[in-house]
């Protein structure tokens, strides 16, 4: 993104969210910030809260919307209330396994949700600590991996189908869904390596969907953008099962913008120039003000 903005003549600096950030912001006095950090401080609203305190305009969603989207169980509940399907799930903190006995709780999960399952931290991204569970024996190990990244696990029924990521972009004329990107990972699934190693995952843009299915996933992404109160841009991850039902998995307030990310692919496929779209979002943020 930095390279594209520089090409457009924008004085751009990349800053990390570390102890030098506030001093650097004081030095640079930027017109606006484009938050691009993944993970907790980038997506949970905290950096945006700080930018608000600093009165610096920024691209993207406000802190309260970030918090709703970043907490996957909360986002699922809001989406379910809006009529969008989402995999049946259980959300359990580590303490529950400690207090009630992990074995009994694991057995109960398998009995009620069945197999296969998908386990992930309730807050997080990039598939860190996430993984599929195909047998009851694997569930404890998956939970251990999950708890390395967070204190609360979201355990969902695994939905077989076509995995798609749908970007939503609002360049001042209201939110529009970008073409769905179909994700076809290799044998190990869409894990961290598959996400960030060019060539490990195949993408189809637009996704190989029927017109009605394409509409359904686009509507679901727009619903997520609206229900969660998101702003400017977002990406919603969904699974379309064999019956054609689109299941909401999660929404991202800070879609990946790397060479292997789906949002830039969708932007280009929809006829937008990546850098120009980013610049437009920045101009909107500047006009909006802090």
């Amino acid at each position: 993104m930095r390279d594209e903005l520089v090409k457009l003549g924008i004085d751009t600096a990349v800053l990390d969210a570390d102890s030098a950030l506030l001093a650097k912001l004081g030095d640079y006095l930027p017109s606006a910030i484009f938050p691009a950090i993944h993970g907790s401080c980038g997506e949970d609203g905290s950096i945006r809260e700080v930018l608000g305190l600093l009165r610096i305009p920024y691209v993207g969603s406000i802190p309260s919307a970030c918090r709703a989207a970043f907490d996957k169980p909360t986002a699922k509940s809001l989406m379910a209330a809006a009529g969008v399907a989402t995999p049946t799930s259980a959300t359990l903190p580590r303490e529950t396994f400690h207090d009630l006995g992990a074995s009994a709780v694991v057995d109960l999960i398998v009995a009620r949700l069945g197999l296969p399952l998908y386990v992930k931290p309730s807050r997080g991204g990039s598939s860190l600590g996430a993984g599929a569970v195909r047998s009851a024996a694997d569930l404890s190990a998956a939970l251990l991996s999950c708890f390395a990244y967070g204190e609360i696990a979201l355990i969902e029924q695994f939905v077989r189908g076509t995995e798609v990521a749908v970007g939503v972009l609002d360049l001042g004329d209201g939110p529009h869904a970008l073409p769905a990107v179909e994700i076809v990972p290799g044998e190990h699934g869409y894990d961290y390596s598959a996400r960030y190693t060019a060539g490990q995952t195949e993408f189809y843009v637009p996704a190989r969907l029927s017109a009605s299915a394409a509409r359904e996933v686009a509507d679901a992404a727009l619903t997520a953008h609206s229900v969660l109160g998101l702003r400017d841009l977002s990406r919603t991850d969904l699974i379309l099962d064999e019956e054609g039902t689109a299941y909401f998995l999660e929404a991202n307030v800070s879609p990946g913008m790397t060479e292997t990310s789906t949002f830039p692919l969708a932007l280009e496929a929809s006829g937008h120039h990546f850098g120009e779209a980013c610049l437009k979002l920045i101009e909107i943020a500047v006009a909006r003000g802090a």
Binding site: V106, S145, A148, L209, A214, L265
Partner: protein, 423 residues
Amino acid sequence: MTAGSDSPAVRIDRYVGQYAERAKGMVASEIRALFAVAARPEIVSLAGGTPYVAALPLDAVGSMVGELVAGQGTQALQYCTAQGDAGLRERICEVMSLEGVQDHPDDVVVTVGSQQALDLLARIFVDPGDVVLAEAPSYVGALGAFSAYQADVVHVPMDDEGLIPEALEQAIAAVAASGRRAKFLYTVPNFHNPAGVTLALSRRHRILDICQRAELLVVEDNPYGLLGFDGDPMRALRADDPEGVVYLGTFSKTFAAGVRVGWAVAPPAIRDKLILAAESAVLCHSSFAQLTVREYLSTQPWREQIKDFRELYRARRDATLDALARLMPPGCGWTEPAGGFYVWLRLPDGVDAKAMLPRAISARVAYVPGTGFYADGSGGQFARLCYAFPDPERIREGIRRLAAVVEGEIELRHDFASGVPSV
């Protein structure tokens, strides 16, 4: 549902089908991503083997470099030979004489750190599927260099006195029984990376005898040999068998890692191939870096500097061992290095250092999981702690954080004790 448009797959990497088989393992990993976070100042990093170059007389080195360019710039900024600057090679022989090695500068090949020497050795010796013997655990950079040439690394157990001779004999026999022959034994005899142990004097001749009988070349990697905390440097293996041992050295730990200057000393036939391999790899090494080291060794009190490094690292080793003894929960064990940079930490049964790393990073302490030091990915119960860079106070704080993380992991593992495969 995939019945609509038939758009072609987007090829983010248009060359994805064209990479060599040996590039298959070159993929993004969670561990590397975590290490990127570990570089942040709020994290006590016991991970990277980073020397404390701030202890160098930087002003003096800066003046020396300025004078080098002003006075010898036409040589320092020019190509040189692939074998390396002759004056530097003379100095290298002086350095090695501290460990009993009596070689001629003609036997020395200058390399880009000793890491390039590992690459060149693998390049000239290893065909896909060839066996390389290495200690268990072994230096991760060596494993990476060997795997790039598709070597099959067979690990040989160590104990507190280093490589176990009987285990080496068994490994050589087992490889032979499988119809193969090991190409060389890779060993770090002094202050081992990552294990922190040193090959006992009483074992050194035995190891050389075993390798001579098996006609097995020994690659002796000795980055830390001059950084012992007690007594004189150990005698190098090459000092006792110049025909059977290739010696690898580096200035990364005794001067500056940033100059990237190392070397190999080898029997003549191997030396000649190393020179040709180096020529094809880089044409020649940085004249500027080589002359910087040559001038450092010629004009600066480098022996005293090594003494200063030893005292600095000794204090950090002491802080590490003291904090481990006071803070780590029962079930942990660790080596007590007599030099070098590393303590090898064994975690309680069932605790996996790799799985625990994200929690440690969250607690603002970093280490290297043991799995990186085994070609087969075992070693999950171990972690490498490097005490070279943080000061003693930071080391104590880092180990306090690590101990809390281990205690939390023990509790978590206990909660899930049933039905979890042991790691």
